[in-house]
């Protein structure tokens, strides 16, 4: 498998998809005070509606369960967005399948698919969220086994029709009809991968598309993952499937403005996480590296961000990019500007660069 043939897969078989993801961090008012969970959720609905209006292809919400990221029921928020839009695809980014019931996940997203007229997708993974494990009574040490087992069941459910399944992590199903049925076959399902090659092979095994979550370091190092995925699909006798990239970033009118808006909140959020998890806080140097051409952050003017997206989609043999916008502490207004610039300037520019 050469890089050239994965480029061919991108260009010939799959359309270019340019989406937005959010974790739904609590937004702040003009005086820098956090807004309520309820207002944050209503803001996310408005953000999804705007994304539709400005031509974004996909709007994803990542499940989280914390005071600063209160997006525990992403599918409900997506349903509200679906009701007010007609074009944009809606889905998760990610759904923490290990601490959920695959039957319920299927039911919720199949319902979203019905509400949205066939625009639902689901991305399964762990994400960086670990709070759902104690909340729902799961042991983090069982993560791999839970994910493996539940992914297998989810793949069965997606096929449609009565399900017979036996596993280790939930009661068996015997010829069980699970509703609502989808109208026209399975909705798109992806597995989010952060660095585990076994997850790549697992996605290929079950026929899920591959979403590479690249949140630090060089995006280019993921190229072998993309090649491994296509080769594994071939090994399992499956047709090629799309590869996507999810990375954080922030778009503003100029590079300077984007960095100035994003940096203090990025520093604050990562510093808070680093304290509880015991790793180093970012420095101005590491931020400069990550926002440069070799790094994983897409922070800058529409032109800067578009060029970086185009370059990395090419080097990774990927046909989809989802920008994870937003960061705790940014205001709803700043996020709306980011979305508008992404839809009206970044997306057309990426399309131009890739044709």
């Amino acid at each position: 498998m050469s890089a050239a043939s994965s480029d061919a897969a991108r260009e010939d078989r799959f359309p270019l998809v340019l989406g937005l993801d959010t974790f739904g961090d609590v937004t702040y008012d003009e005086d820098g005070r956090p807004l309520s969970h309820a207002q944050t959720i209503r803001d996310v609905v408005e953000e999804g509606v705007l994304a539709d209006q400005v031509g974004v292809d996909y709007f994803g919400i990542g499940e989280h369960h914390t005071d600063d990221i209160p997006m525990s029921a992403a599918d409900v928020v997506l349903g509200a967005i679906a009701a007010r839009t007609t074009r944009i695809r809606v889905g998760s980014a990610v759904t923490v399948l290990s601490s959920d019931d695959p039957v319920r996940v299927f039911q919720r997203y199949s319902t979203l698919n019905a509400v949205s007229g066939g625009r639902a997708e689901v991305i399964l993974g762990r994400g960086s969220s670990i709070d759902s494990f104690p909340l729902f009574g799961y042991d983090l040490a069982d993560y791999e086994d839970l994910f493996e087992d539940k992914t297998g069941l989810f793949a069965e459910l997606l096929k449609g029709g009565p399900v017979t399944w036996q596993g280790k992590t939930r009661p068996a199903l015997h010829d069980q009809d699970v509703v609502p049925h989808t109208e026209s076959g399975p909705f798109p399902a992806w597995i989010g991968v952060g660095g585990s090659p076994q997850s790549v092979v697992r996605a290929a095994h079950y026929g899920f598309s591959l979403m590479l979550a690249i949140i630090g370091g060089s995006p280019a190092r993921f190229a072998p993952f993309s090649q491994l995925f296509q080769q594994a699909l071939e090994r399992f006798g499956r047709a090629p499937l799309p590869v996507g990239v999810h990375s954080p970033g922030h778009v503003a009118a100029t590079d300077e403005k984007a960095r100035e808006e994003f940096w203090p909140h990025y520093l604050e959020v990562i510093r808070r996480v680093s304290k509880t998890r015991g790793f180093a806080a970012p420095t101005k140097e590491s931020f400069t590296y990550e926002t440069g051409p070799q790094g994983a952050l897409y922070v800058g003017s529409p032109e800067t961000v578009a060029k970086k997206i185009a370059a990395n989609l090419t080097s990774l043999g990927a046909n989809r990019f989802d920008l994870k916008y937003g960061m705790g502490g940014l205001s709803h207004e700043v996020l709306m500007t980011n979305i508008e610039l992404y839809g009206t300037q970044v997306i057309p520019r990426v399309r131009e660069l890739l044709t």
């Binding site: 791999e144 660095g195 060089s218 998890r277 790793f279």
Partner: protein, 215 residues
Amino acid sequence: MTRLAVLGAGHVGPVIARVAIDAGFPVSIAASGDPEEITLITQFLAPGAEPRWAAEAVEDADVVVLAIPLHKFATFDPALVAGKVVVDTMNYWPPIDGVQEMFEDPLYGSSEIVAHRLSRSTIVKTFNHIGYHELDDERRPAGSPERRALGVAGDDPAAVTTVADVIERIGYDAVPLEGLGAGRLLEPGGPVFGVSLSRPEFEHAVARSPLREKA
């Protein structure tokens, strides 16, 4: 040339295998089962490494790199690596991976607990405090002002020297620490965990850490 056996084909194992191959070391790689299951992973992520059964990989190796998730360690067979130099790349990191009783002993670092269980092996702790996503990118030739330091902690000086040589050839400055107990300085929450530091910066950070007293 030191022969390496990397045990683990997850996030960490293939990256270490790849950079070691690049440095000219013969490397075999093994997961918990049939090498056939990791041939594709090896082909794309660590080309040049030889997928083998764990026991066969270990038998021929001078240094075994243990790169399995720590929660799998409780069921890891100590006999598999008896008599070998074992590099412990693992971390006990409860906020990320959950609590494990075996490692909930404030008197000992995680590698000391590993060493206690692998009592017939010689344990050296390193690689644990650099992100697997950085290990490839941050390599620099010897003498480069940007070259990053990696701590190497162990009780057996010969084993520490062997492993330090591997680190140096891969592209990092090896900083030996005073015994495996000092490996606590390399753990999550410690002064060098996840930080890119040059040798002088690393030595300074370690020397002024309050953890040093305990270690």
